[in-house]
Amino acid sequence: MRDFFTNNVLGILLLTIAETLAILVPVLIGMAYSTFFERKALAAFQLRRGPNVVGPFGLWQPFADAVKVFTKETIVPAGASRSLFLLAPMLTFVLACLAWAVIPVNDNWAAANINVGILYLFAISSLGVYGIIIAGWASNSKYAFLGAMRSAAQMVSYEVSIGFVLVTVMLCVGSLNLNDVVRAQSHHWFAFTLLFPMFVVFLISMLAETNRAPFDLPEGESELVAGFFVEYSAMSFALFFLGEYTNMIMMSALGSVLFLGGWQAPFGLTFIPGVFWLAAKICVLMFFFFWVRATFPRFRYDQLMRLGWKVFLPLSLLWLVLTAGYLELTGTLPMEAL
């Protein structure tokens, strides 16, 4: 039996499909309920009740929304570039799902435990901008185009600081494998060490990278109607929506793997499985997304660019050099013999 799944082509294929489903189904259910969580959290912040009509405590609301959105008509504007218009939402959603392949959910539990896991995640997250640019261009609408332009500049700018954050973490771990990153945090989570400023930079950059408030300029509903997805309806809109929330969960997962110890249990509570701890940390970071959304007004575009290039870039570069210097000075630089 074991031989069938490790050596037979069909066995490997079946195993891969099963692994993919085992990751994607919880992620998609989590995504559906993160919309519910967001609405409830925002309602609590604003002293409202939030969705409470469909099912007990409104728990069936995400499914009601899904049914509504699936049964609507998909409209393709007359002037749109049809194939690209339909490609963009699929691209956004597929990219958001692809990144999950390397996230370790427990010790050595990842669909693909690859050596360059961090680089893979960085590569996938840097591709997210294409869905938005293509959507903006293919819609042939000025609001969509403006949203796409803003988002291209914004996501490229904040990727730079996220890149430096990743490099600093790699420096402390000495490996590009995400499982090694989590293992290195068995005593101290990186968020509570010298890397704390990088954790803050990461938290803010992750908001910009997922186009969430207060950096939701690509959507900017008060100026650009709905930004890059202004022309989308029904299923194609739903894919953007799914992609956005899946990306948020993914960035939360990345944040917990890099800084909050991934599947490591806090306070020695190791009898609770690691999967649960990772999920709990993801929930905390997701709450951070909603908390920020309820608290801060939207940034103006020049302020956003200033923050990215004039504050985060020098800060993360300086902290990278400081971290390298500290590790070298104390002789704690992780080295493996070649």
Partner: protein
């Protein structure tokens, strides 16, 4: 077997999309095919076992360079009829260049012999336990350290040069100085004035000169006493 199939699939898509980059009429489609070509090149790197190069190719070329390409190409307003205007006039030049290139390529391809086993041609083989990220680092930061740093320096100089050449110090746009804004206090910014009934801004000493030719239209004197908050200019 699977690896061979994957190699031919990725190579075929790579060549096909590279051809489409040149032949497609819409420049935006060209850039998108270029991105597809980059992707398949990255997949070929992965098959060759060069995972670090594959990821860097995606991050640098697809994630950054091609985004800027796409950005620029989308902003262009290309008129295809205008592009076709000089076609007949320039056709002989183009044909000559094409013929020369064709013969050059043909002379290379005709003298090309396929080697049986590519892996036999590898100069230095990595020990199986060494990751190629580490191996590249070991070479780049030891033997080729000077060249590596110099190329970085050249790129930095080129970047600074581009910024200096294109930067125009125009001061026509309104700028914010965020430090100065945050240092402002209420008593520097706001002034609470008790306005006498019927008094204008001249009597209160709040009159600011108005450009000549645009005399203010004085409103009818107010009958009640109002307390006004006047915002001062910075």
């Amino acid at each position: 077997m699977i690896v061979a199939v994957a190699f031919y699939v990725f190579s075929a898509i790579l060549l096909g999309s590279a051809a489409m980059v040149v032949t497609s009429r819409n420049p935006v489609h060209s850039v998108l095919f270029l991105i597809l070509a980059f992707f398949n090149a990255a997949a070929l790197f992965l098959i060759a076992g060069a995972e670090f190069l594959a990821m860097i190719l995606v991050i640098v070329y697809v994630g950054a360079v091609a985004v800027l390409f796409l950005f620029v190409v989308m902003m262009l307003d290309v008129d295809f009829t205008a592009l076709r205007e000089g076609f007949q006039r320039y056709a002989p030049v183009g044909a000559t260049v094409g013929v020369v290139l064709f013969f050059e390529l043909a002379s290379v391809l005709l003298g090309w012999r396929m080697s049986g086993d590519v892996s036999a041609a590898v100069l230095t083989r990595l020990p199986s336990h060494v990751q190629n990220t580490r191996a590249i680092g070991q070479v780049l930061y030891t033997d080729y350290f000077l060249l590596f740093q110099l190329s970085g320096l050249i790129l930095l100089v080129a970047m600074i040069g581009a910024i200096v050449l294109t930067h125009r110090g125009r001061h026509t746009s309104k700028r914010q100085n965020i430090t100065r804004q945050q240092e402002r206090r209420v008593d520097e910014t706001l002034q609470v004035v008790t306005v006498r009934s019927g008094a204008g801004i001249r009597e209160l000493g709040l009159y600011r000169p108005i450009p000549v030719g645009r005399e203010p239209v004085l409103a009818a004197p107010a009958t009640t006493e109002v307390s006004t908050i006047v915002a001062q200019d910075q």
